[in-house]
Amino acid sequence: MSCNEALLTVENASVRYQNAESYALDHVSLTFQRGEFVCILGKTGAGKSTFIRTLNGLQSLTEGEIVYNSRSFQTLDREGLRRQRRSMGMIFQHHQLIPRLTVLQNVYTGLFGSRSTIRNLAGLFNESEKKLARDVIEQVELLPHLNKRVDLLSGGQRQRVGIARALAQSPDIFLGDEPVASLDPGTANRIFQLIHRLHEERNLLTIINVHDVKLAKRYASRIVALKEGRVVFDDRPEALTEEIEDMLYEL
């Protein structure tokens, strides 16, 4: 965290879904720097998914602004937004891999944003792209399953394919929407460990939704807590007291 220039800035970001009477995301302002490992906490419905999806433009804002690489999403057209997304790897709760395709084929899709449509449709990959795909699969320890169909893998393995796909984007930012919520505690911890290691190796900005406070405290360098779409906590993990936890989860 030596450089203080913000990589990603969220200013007054608000989302109001159609026909909803209140904001799902309520005037949130946050600044993120390279190297931060941020965990977003909050009970179900607090707006975590909405927030993380605004960061790469999967969800557009009703009000406010997202600035990434000194460019505001609000000024970009669809093509511009697409280009911004290429350097933001996203990991989902249900991994959202393409069924019936192999591990390698799924990882190749991570390269799609930076290649021509013709080369994507023809399935042509040059030597450096092939090497990149193998390297990231090796990093998530799935090399033995390279040509296995992803629907035949375990939950933890699938999530590692999801991570490899995000790595194939050579991202500056890792976004995660509850990537370990459907995994058992041991597997969840190992996945977090992996994400954290890759985060350190590549000096990324990582922002992950998580509902397990223990995991957040173990790995995060910063915790942001949402309640009813508003930021109610933003500090180092040590500062998250039990009272605040109780307030968050309404215990």
Binding site: L58, H95, Q96, I98, R100, F112, G113, T117, N120
Partner: protein
């Protein structure tokens, strides 16, 4: 409280009324079967089978198979891109017009399409094949469009998130999921196309259907018997293969 609802009684009498009316317009009258001897007479003319025409009729059967295959397969090839324009999640601004256009084409019965193309390009299997192509392209487009709409949204969102262009994203996230269902629909349409090409044969579209019609009109019943036998074999074999293939691709 009665054990039935008045509403159901009204429904019951409406259905009975509909049946009476249908019996009237269809001249439905089982007594017409009283001249059973005619039937036996007619069927006895079928035997012995006129085996000498078998080679020619086999050739005609292959023409029918060819019409059905080419018609349904080219229909599928056309339907794949068209379906992207007819599915809500991939069509963009084309959705409305594509849907309307497809409904319009689909509402034209194949037999009418056949008669149309027969007058344009002249009688023969070519006209029938074109009719089958047009019909199947429109039917398969709608079926595939519905598969695209029902496909799991997760992979589509993931493709958006990696920054893939919309076409690449749609092709890669949707088609691997729906492929087995597409093939299953295709083989069903192929089976239907066999029946259609028989029908189109009756109006001059060539193949075994046309042979059957000609032999029937010229009272060559022992040849008609061979035609019917071949048709039954084709239908049974294709039904069987179709169900096997559909099992396999799932």
């Amino acid at each position: 409280m009665a054990w039935f609802k008045w509403r159901h009684l009204i429904l019951f009498f409406s259905v009975v009324g509909l049946m009476v009316w249908s019996i009237g317009v269809t001249e439905f009258d089982v007594r017409k079967f009283s001249q059973f001897n005619n039937m036996i007479d007619f069927l006895s003319n079928w035997f012995p089978l006129n085996i000498s025409v078998l080679p020619t009729m086999l050739k005609a059967s292959l023409v029918t198979l060819g019409m059905a295959f080419l018609g349904s397969f080219v229909g599928l090839l056309l339907a794949l891109p068209i379906s992207l324009l007819a599915a809500k999640n991939t069509a963009g601004p084309f959705y409305g017009s594509a849907r309307v256009g497809l409904s319009f084409v689909r509402s034209i019965p194949e037999i009418v399409l056949g008669l149309m193309f027969l007058t344009i390009v002249g009688p023969g299997p070519f006209a029938a094949t074109i009719a089958i192509i047009v019909h199947n392209a429109s039917v398969l487009s709608k079926l595939i469009a519905e598969l695209i709409e029902a496909a799991d949204k997760g992979p589509q969102e993931a493709m958006k998130a990696v920054g893939a262009r919309p076409l690449t994203g749609a092709l890669f996230s949707v088609f691997p999921q729906i492929w087995p269902n597409v093939l299953s629909h295709y083989f069903y349409r192929f089976e239907v196309a066999i029946r259609t090409s028989l029908m189109l044969g009756l109006v001059g579209g060539g193949g075994i259907g046309q042979q059957l019609f000609v032999h029937f009109k010229t009272f060559q019943y022992s040849t008609v018997a061979v035609d019917v036998m071949l048709i039954m074999i084709i239908v049974i074999v294709v039904d069987f293969l179709g169900s096997r293939v559909r099992q396999y691709v799932m």
